[in-house]
């Protein structure tokens, strides 16, 4: 119950203002089609650079929570998911809105997001310290394998093609080696002056997540992107709460599925909503109503999306392995504050970590409150013109990537990575494994080099890296994640892959 002692930090005026701003801003950004939660959090990181670690993380945590929930607004009113996590929400939510039940759909969406989110954060509170104790047993070779596992899991499960997913991870790992090697005092892969300091995490994150979306908006050309949003007639909140109590089964399925998926390193929220929706449909006596505007599907999907948020931070805070692409961006936010996740994070930075976690708990409640408040004028939010967004995000990306290191070279790197990622995405590559490779690369690289040095003094690299129970378990997990994806992609052509939206057009 240590976390209770740090609740005061959340209600300090400046921290609470950031929490409020992050929640409302996150809801608006999430509701805007084309602005993903990952991109929103990546664009916010430069602002946190000038804040204390606690305040910066409070802002990022609030934005993370509320952008995921806010994505439901455009999914329901426009049938355009604000984020990949909201794809399942659009299936029934939009049908409800077409029937004139837009307000009910939005209320149910925010309420179920809140319930799932609170339970997810409680899991984070109680699981993380336990896992952190277990992490004490982990040694150099294990950390290397865990980092590799993070890249292979997300590379094989979060991509449209597992070959391209793993290739993306490899590109990320290679990018992480660019720059000056401090141990040997030598330069590696420095093809231009801008690369001499290596590739900064923040410019890379902004470029990889924001620029492809800017280019996607431009790719549509001069088309009228103001899709008519459905009207939102008024609805009493009490009626929506009563309605929610009818769907306890869907709420429970969504929360459990979201929590479990959040805990799996690298998998993230993209698939939580779809898996919960699918499971809820299978277990429902009214399964034929799913897809026709049945609230059960909406409740399952939205509770899963937000239940995933808290558990996705468990592997992040203890093992440095993000549970989702947005959590990967949060890891970047921690690293620039020189907070290194691991077994001792609760001993070294208890105030920062517990205030951050507590703020996410309070943020879930604020998110429900403000989400319901904005429901009546949500239609207007969801119709922000694409040309303004494209130009605005570009300018923010340039200023954001410059402001951290005050280097024009960082801006060049940001744009080069962004344009490159846009092209790669069009050919089935994915940004998430590349980012994971970039972030986990130094962890894997340092532990590999250290491990090789230690192995040379002991029984050699084979014994050091490939024997021992934990090594074997981790290697098995790496192999299993690749084999599972290989089976889905190559050997079972008739079978739909499990990775949800990212794999919807997988071969």
């Amino acid at each position: 119950m240590e976390f209770l002692g740090y609740f005061g930090g959340v209600f300090e005026p400046w921290a609470f203002m950031l929490l409020l701003g992050g929640t409302v801003g996150g809801l608006i950004l999430g509701a805007t089609p084309g602005l993903s939660p990952t991109m929103a959090v990546a664009l916010l990181i430069p602002f946190t650079f000038h804040m204390s670690a606690t305040h910066g993380l409070v802002l990022l945590g609030a934005a993370y929570t509320s952008t995921v929930a806010g994505g439901a607004v455009s999914a329901i009113l426009l049938k355009i998911p604000g984020a990949p996590a909201n794809i399942a929400t659009a299936l029934d939510g939009n049908e409800m809105a077409k029937r004139g039940e837009g307000a009910k759909a939005l209320h149910l969406s925010f309420l179920s997001s809140g319930v799932g989110g609170v339970i997810g954060i409680l899991l984070l509170i109680f699981l993380t310290p336990v896992l952190a104790q277990w992490v004490l047993k982990i040694q150099t070779p294990h950390v290397f394998w865990i980092a590799i596992l993070g890249v292979t899991v997300i590379g094989s499960l979060d991509s449209k093609s597992f070959v391209k997913g793993l290739l993306s991870g490899c590109i990320g790992l290679w990018l992480s080696t660019i720059g000056y090697d401090e141990i040997q005092g030598t330069e590696r892969f420095i093809f231009a002056d801008a690369l001499s300091g290596g590739i900064g995490i923040i410019p890379a994150l902004i470029g990889l997540f924001a620029i492809p979306q800017v280019l996607d908006m431009m790719a549509k050309g001069r088309v009228d992107s103001l899709i008519e949003a459905l009207e939102v007639p008024k609805q009493k909140l009490s009626a929506s709460i009563r309605e929610l109590t009818k769907y306890v089964r869907a709420l429970s399925i969504g929360t459990v599925v979201g929590s479990i998926i959040g805990l799996i390193p690298g998998v993230g929220g993209q698939i939580a909503g779809l898996v919960a929706y699918d499971q809820s449909r299978k277990m429902s006596p009214q399964r034929e109503k799913f897809g026709t505007g049945h609230p059960e599907g909406l409740v399952a999907a939205e509770s899963a999306n937000n239940a995933m948020v808290g558990p996705s931070l468990v592997p992040l805070l203890t093992l440095s392995i993000p549970g989702s692409p947005t959590a990967a961006v949060l890891l970047g936010g921690l690293l620039i504050k020189e907070i290194f996740p691991g077994s001792d994070i609760f001993e070294k930075h208890p105030e920062v970590v517990w205030t951050f976690i507590n703020s996410m708990l309070v943020g879930q409640i604020l998110m429900v409150f403000f989400g319901i408040m904005i429901a009546s004028w949500a239609a207007k939010i969801a119709r922000a013109p694409a040309p303004i967004m494209a130009a605005g995000v570009l300018v923010l990306a340039v200023f954001g990537s410059y402001s951290v290191g005050q280097s024009v070279g960082d801006v060049h790197i940001m744009l080069a990575l962004g344009v490159g990622m846009f092209i790669l995405e069009k050919f089935g590559f994915s940004a998430a494994p590349l980012v994971l490779g970039l972030i986990l690369g130094p962890i894997a690289g340092d532990n590999f080099t250290q491990g090789m040095t230690l192995a040379a003094a002991q029984d050699g690299p084979w014994v050091y890296f490939f024997t021992g129970t934990l090594n074997i378990i981790l290697i098995s997990l790496v192999v299993a994640s690749i084999a599972y994806s290989f089976w889905n992609n190559m050997l079972a052509p008739g079978k739909k892959p499990a990775a949800g939206p990212a794999t919807e057009d997988a071969k």
Partner: protein, 153 residues
């Protein structure tokens, strides 16, 4: 050979070329200790790149729709503005002036409203000025980020 297959061969070849360069450098550059980890990565990288290229050449690579010519045509003006802004405007004109021009150019070009209507031009100017005022307040006043000034500001 279909144009779709060709679309997959081009990035597949580019990635193979990159992987080859990375592998070559990893195994030839010195000191070897500094390139130990890159060597491990490059072996996996080149293997996957070869596999990916074979799939592209044999037409097995079907994931990803490529970049159609129409999309490319839509992209070119915006891309030129982006590149001019980042590689020239930001440094030589100044971040704020460069950003204002880039924002206005991108917004005006992709805005579906009429280009002949003075009312729409006024709206574009107003939105640009308002947005840049917010950016200036955030970065120059609140965060006190010193950006290159260029010829004006």
């Amino acid at each position: 050979m279909t144009s779709r297959r060709m679309q997959h061969i081009l990035p597949g070849s580019a990635i193979f070329l990159l992987a080859s360069v990375v592998t070559w450098l990893s195994f030839t550059e010195q000191p070897a200790e500094a390139f130990l980890f890159p060597r491990v990565i490059s072996v996996v990288f080149i293997s996957l790149a070869i596999w990916n290229l074979i799939r592209a050449v044999t037409g097995m690579s079907k994931v990803g729709r490529g970049i159609p010519v129409a999309t490319l045509k839509n992209l070119v003006p915006g891309l030129i503005v982006m590149l001019a802004f980042v590689f020239f405007g930001a440094k030589h004109l100044g971040f704020y002036l460069g950003s204002t021009l880039a924002f206005f150019a991108i917004y005006s070009f992709y805005d579906p409203a009429l280009w002949t209507s003075s009312k729409d031009w006024m709206k574009r100017i107003f939105v640009t000025v308002a947005f840049m005022a917010v950016i200036y307040a955030l970065f120059a006043v609140v965060l006190q980020v010193h950006t290159p000034r260029g010829i004006l500001f």
